[in-house]
């Protein structure tokens, strides 16, 4: 294992972590602030990817497609909130899980009906399509650097909004004691709607920037949702800062673990045994990490104050 390879892996881990953060940020706010389990959050990631595919095809410009996709993702989030989720806030978690699971199935099938079952792909925008030479053979696409920067910008913006603005204050207050905030004349319903819409938009944004790297296919958000849940549990439910740190941690552990597990195991075991258990162990690693962190910090790394 050379140092270069290690640095490349760290870079990849960061990039994966940023993507996870964009998805987990919305999930942790919706879960933490409203106490609402939204399984359909992952499907918003898929929706974002299909939206940018469709708009890119129509407009031919990635920038324009990005803006249109964000607006559409926000609108779709608000529509779901208005027609479905609003009626589920006071219901049990089981009802929420069932309803949002239904939305997953519905949207996955809808994507298949409209765009077909085959895997689709789009090219990154011309401006970002270059690459940087890392080793003699390997080049690192600039687009991947751009996703890291985009993730960082969103993280800073969210942190400022939640910590220093009036809306952020209301979100934190609404999470702790919604009844009091409501009694003080704040429209808590509208506040929830904003949180929900922004969460959906962030997941859609993650889908948009992931589309040129990964393939676009029905059900692409299902697996990443599970990892996003791991991230918000490690980070502490309702905490943006926690989600950020946890996303990077999970991204790094997963990426490094997959490459290093076989090498580390072959120190102890024979190569064929290491090859058998290495990949299996690598895919368990983030769950092991979650369990280990929960033993020492049952509320996650940076729990949001006041969240029950």
């Amino acid at each position: 294992m050379s140092f270069t390879l290690f640095m490349i892996l760290v870079l990849n881990g960061f990039q994966y972590g940023m993507l996870l953060f964009l998805i987990a940020a919305g999930l942790t706010l919706v879960f933490g602030v409203m106490g609402f389990i939204n399984l359909a959050h992952g499907v918003q990631f898929m929706v974002g990817a299909y939206l940018v595919y469709a708009f890119y095809g129509v407009t031919g410009s990635f920038g324009l497609a990005l803006v249109l996709s964000l607006i559409a993702a926000l609108a779709i989030g608000l529509i779901f909130e208005f027609f479905i989720f609003r009626h589920l806030y006071d219901r049990t978690h089981l009802d929420q899980v069932l309803a949002t699971f239904g939305i997953i199935i519905f949207l996955n099938e809808l994507a298949k009906v409209i765009f077909g079952p085959a895997t689709l792909s789009i090219d990154p925008p011309d401006l970002l399509s270059g690459s940087i030479t890392l080793t003699e053979q390997l080049r690192y696409p600039i687009y991947r650097f751009a996703t890291i920067v985009a993730g960082l910008l969103v993280a800073v913006a969210l942190f400022i909004i939640v910590s220093y603005t009036r809306v952020g204050m209301l979100i934190r207050a609404g999470a702790t004691s919604p009844d009091i905030v409501s009694a003080l004349g704040v429209n808590i319903q509208r506040l929830f709607m904003i949180v929900f819409g922004v969460g959906a938009m962030l997941a859609g944004f993650a889908g948009v920037i992931a589309a040129p790297i990964f393939a676009i296919e029905p059900g692409m958000g299902d697996n990443i949702l599970i990892v996003a849940f791991v991230v918000i549990i490690i980070g502490g439910i309702g905490s943006i800062g926690g989600a950020f740190i946890a996303a990077l941690l999970v991204g790094l552990v997963d990426t490094l673990g997959r490459s290093l597990s076989v090498e580390l195991l072959s120190i102890v075991f024979s190569p064929s045994v290491a090859n058998q258990i290495g990949p299996a162990l690598a895919s368990m690693l983030i769950y092991v990490l979650m369990a280990a962190i929960l033993i020492f910090r049952p509320k996650g790394l940076l729990p949001a104050r006041g969240v029950a």
Binding site: L5, P117, A118, R139, R144, A215, E217, N223
Partner: protein
């Protein structure tokens, strides 16, 4: 007494309609995957079979044919349920299925136990090729290990000495790895197993770029293949490394991979541009009808329909004598679009394998293109264990 008489007459009625249906109509049940990301594969099989049926005016072997298509949803329990209902409720004469080997394993036992013929248009697991071969089972595709074995031969032909091998961590992935190593004479520098449905290959590609390999051998069907090829190309590895694969760059994934895959090597039994009369007729008719270039899945389904057609014609439509039906199918008296085709003692095909290369057509569509034949009349490695 009255009761007895009604039930007797009802029985007689049933028997009458039953035999009438058997003598006149041929009923074929199909179990394929038509939902989720791999639905494109199942759709090719349905389209390929339907094309052959339509070309013969809905008749196979001169018999009016009814095709009942079921979706196994890539879930073994669903596949089992659908197959059982095809046998018991629809009383089909032949079951055609499946796309995936684990689905075939789910439906295999109930179908062959009911003495209904099962013909696989794609899945060719090693499990039914050796000791557990069955008189009621035929595969018109290949045996799963063969494509990877031929890839090993291609690597030898190309003079590769160091190859990096990567596959998803499940049965078919491990089978392909074993198949490749069986025939490849050089060194396998790394054997990497990724999770099934893997998203980001950057870690694996980084490892590949720092290894001494001159080529990558991989088996990444469906969306995984699209992601791998795009990321391989974006990392600039296409210039310095050769890309060899099975079921990774085919007609189902190329519309997503596009230019990134051009020039990549693959092993297979057929390519849409193979210049034979039967094949040209098939591909042009298929494209005209469905608007996309057929892949091997569609070709195998088309061959399956023609195989059934030849067998039924030989029997004059009488499907009652199972031994005669078996002999008629085993004769494989039809002209495969692949060229030479015969059944081995284990009812898996003996056929030629070729090296294929991804090419771009003048109209901007992508397909695999025939380069040269690697091995002729290739038998699978399990047929000797089959006592049948």
């Amino acid at each position: 007494m009255k009761n007895l008489r009604t039930s007797l007459s009802a029985f007689a009625l049933c028997a009458a309609t039953g035999t009438a249906a058997m003598a006149e109509d041929l009923k074929i049940g199909m179990v394929v995957t038509l939902s989720g990301p791999p639905a494109a594969l199942g759709q090719q099989i349905v389209d390929g079979f339907q094309l052959a049926l339509d070309q013969k005016d809905g008749m196979l072997g001169g018999q009016k044919t009814e095709l009942v298509v079921e979706d196994d949803e890539l879930k073994p329990d669903v596949a089992l349920l659908k197959a059982t209902s095809l046998i018991e409720r629809e009383e089909v004469d032949i079951v055609v299925g499946t796309v995936f080997s684990n689905m075939l394993q789910a439906i295999f036992k109930p179908v062959v136990a009911s003495e209904t013929f099962l013909i696989s248009p794609n899945a060719g697991p090693s499990t039914f090729a050796g000791k557990n071969c069955n008189p009621f089972f035929f595969a018109t595709s290949y045996q799963n290990n063969q494509n990877a074995e031929v890839s090993g031969m291609i690597a030898n032909d190309q003079g590769f000495t160091n190859v990096f091998a990567m596959a998803p961590n499940y049965q078919a992935g491990r089978d392909n790895m074993v198949g490749f190593k069986q025939t490849f004479e050089g060194t396998v520098t790394d054997e990497v197993f990724t999770p099934l449905g893997h998203q980001d290959f950057s870690a694996e590609l980084a490892r590949l770029s720092t290894s001494d390999a001159e080529a990558l051998f991989t088996f990444m069907p469906g969306g995984m293949g699209v992601r791998l090829v795009k990321q391989f190309d974006a990392a600039g590895l296409s210039d310095s490394l050769k890309f060899m694969s099975v079921f990774t760059t085919d007609e189902t994934t190329l519309p997503g991979q596009k230019d990134a895959a051009v020039g990549f090597l693959a092993a297979g039994t057929w390519a849409p541009d193979m210049d034979t009369e039967a094949n040209n007729a098939f591909t042009s008719a298929f494209e005209e009808k469905y608007g996309y270039i057929p892949g091997s899945y569609a070709m195998q389904a088309y061959d399956t329909a023609n195989l059934i057609d030849s067998a039924v014609a030989k029997l004059g439509g009488d499907m009652s004598d199972k031994d005669a039906v078996r002999a008629a199918i085993k004769a494989a008296d039809f002209s495969s679009v692949r060229g030479d085709f015969a059944f081995n003692n284990n009812h898996y095909p003996i056929q030629d394998f070729h090296m294929l290369k991804v090419a771009k057509r003048d109209d901007g569509k992508f397909h695999t293109s025939f380069v040269n034949t690697i091995v002729e009349d290739y038998e699978d490695s399990f047929h000797e264990e089959c006592q049948m």
